[in-house]
């Protein structure tokens, strides 16, 4: 099991990870991080667990990960930005985590809108960000990360859609070292983005995406929109060319037409943004 002492040893960050709550088993690291944020936990507080008994994705979808093989943790952030600027956070977090994984493993990580991380079309990490807004002011956000590190066996329905760092590199990855890499990479890009604005994420995100000029299908609460990806708007929405007009979307489950893993998901009528995430 992780201990705070081991995780913090050699961690070269200013605030991220100054306090780390470690658990062998917890319902969800995001729930705990929200609870501590609600009672005033400082920016950079981390909650990490070997096992989540109710690990979650969006809208009640569950997140499954074998204990002792992966990384599941949440960070409390208190960025002093407007709620609209928060829209860029999912893109920013995806890029920051992709960079950290690349530095630690030399793998190439792709971004899929808005916040999925893929290696060779398969999902390697999931991100769930939850914020709290009162009177139009963002009080905090909790960034939850689930990274498939050394897990090599997935349930059969996820085998086509999921991968792990071990499956991709053929090597066991040191989870503690990876955790430190992510925290320090994340903190340095976060500090830069607070100074320069999160807009600088957009060009970086685009260079990591293979979605440009590809046809996609977006499902929004049962409403289906087809289009070709033309880029991102300045506030992070995906710009689609649909029937001669341009449309900017801020929500929906995205299926890239022509991607095998996505098509399998589409056939099964499952949201692709939810690999390793299953509907209960």
């Amino acid at each position: 099991m992780f201990t705070e002492r081991v995780l913090r040893k050699g961690l070269k960050t200013k605030t991220f990870g100054n306090k780390i709550f470690t658990f062998q088993s917890i319902d969800s690291t995001n729930n705990c991080a929200k609870a501590v944020a609600n009672i005033g936990a400082a920016e950079g507080v981390v909650v990490i667990a070997e096992e989540q008994t109710a690990g979650k994705g969006r809208l009640g979808r569950s997140w499954q990960a074998n204990p002792e093989e992966n990384l599941t943790f949440s960070i409390v952030l208190r960025p002093k930005i407007s709620p609209e600027a928060v829209n860029l956070l999912p893109l920013y977090v995806a890029v920051a985590v992709a960079q950290a994984i690349e530095r630690a493993t030399a793998l190439k990580v792709e971004c899929k809108w808005p916040n999925d991380l893929l290696i060779g079309k398969r999902k390697v990490a999931g991100i769930l960000i939850e914020g709290s807004i009162q009177q139009g002011i963002l009080e905090y956000v909790v960034v939850g990360l689930g990274i498939n590190v050394n897990q090599t066996k997935f349930p059969s329905d996820l085998m086509q859609k999921a991968t792990s760092l071990k499956l991709e590199t053929g090597q066991e990855i040191d989870r503690v070292q990876l955790f430190r890499h992510i925290l320090s990479s994340f903190e340095s890009s976060y500090t830069n983005s607070l100074r320069n604005g999160f807009e600088s994420t957009i060009p970086t995100w685009l260079t990591r995406s293979t979605m440009l000029n590809k046809p996609i299908v977006v499902s929004q609460q049962g409403n289906i929109i087809n289009g070709v990806v033309k880029g991102l708007s300045k506030d992070g929405g995906i710009v689609l060319q649909t029937n001669g007009s341009e449309k900017t979307l801020f929500a929906g489950d995205v299926t890239i037409v022509g991607d095998a893993a996505d098509q399998i998901a589409a056939l099964k009528n499952e949201p692709v943004a939810a690999f390793a995430v299953t509907n209960p």
């Binding site: 319902d27 609870a35 969006r58 860029l88 808005p114």
Partner: protein, 167 residues
């Protein structure tokens, strides 16, 4: 919510300047509070589990049939006020463009119902944008008079979501 989680929360509250926290999850509510009996008494941590607030049967949807003006509503508190406008009610607006959700998950109970009371800081709904789930908190204590948006619908910036009658 397991015992290790609760124990750490108690530890955290004991060490912090906060006197009380309340967490609601999966219908279970936990309140952890420091009690100050007297100046001489040591700080004591109290741990309570309360039954879910919304265990009483409540209509989950607004009535479809129009209520006759002459007929007194049987359960006034649970009816949406027909003329819920004007300065009397506090408006809670959407701070962002996104999708409105009344509950944390499709099967989960709604955060609030018409007629229910809320405290300042109670979570009213989630507005999702870019897969970021933003919990919108009430900025007043009072009673929910009207919920202006259907679950799962898109909302615009500054769109009124709730009308609350301040306590």
């Amino acid at each position: 919510m397991d015992i290790e989680y609760v124990t750490k929360l108690i530890e955290l509250v004991s060490e912090s300047k906060v006197d009380e926290i309340e967490i609601e999850e999966d219908g279970k509510k936990i309140r952890i509070a420091k009690t100050h009996q007297s100046a001489a008494a040591p700080t004591q941590t109290v741990y309570q589990v309360a039954p879910p607030q919304n265990s009483l049967p409540q209509p989950s949807v607004m009535p479809v049939a129009p209520v006759s003006q002459t007929q007194a509503p049987a359960v006034p508190a649970a009816q949406p006020a027909p003329a819920a406008t004007g300065p009397k009610f506090h408006e809670v607006k959407s701070p962002i463009v996104g999708t409105f959700y009344r509950s944390p998950a499709p099967e989960a109970p709604a955060f609030v119902q018409v007629g229910g009371t809320v405290q300042k800081g109670s979570v009213l709904c989630i507005v999702e944008a870019m897969k970021l789930m933003n919990e919108i908190e009430s900025d007043v204590a009072g009673k929910i008079v009207e919920i202006k948006v259907e679950n799962g619908q898109p909302v615009e910036y500054d769109q009124v979501l709730f009308l609350i009658e301040p306590a």
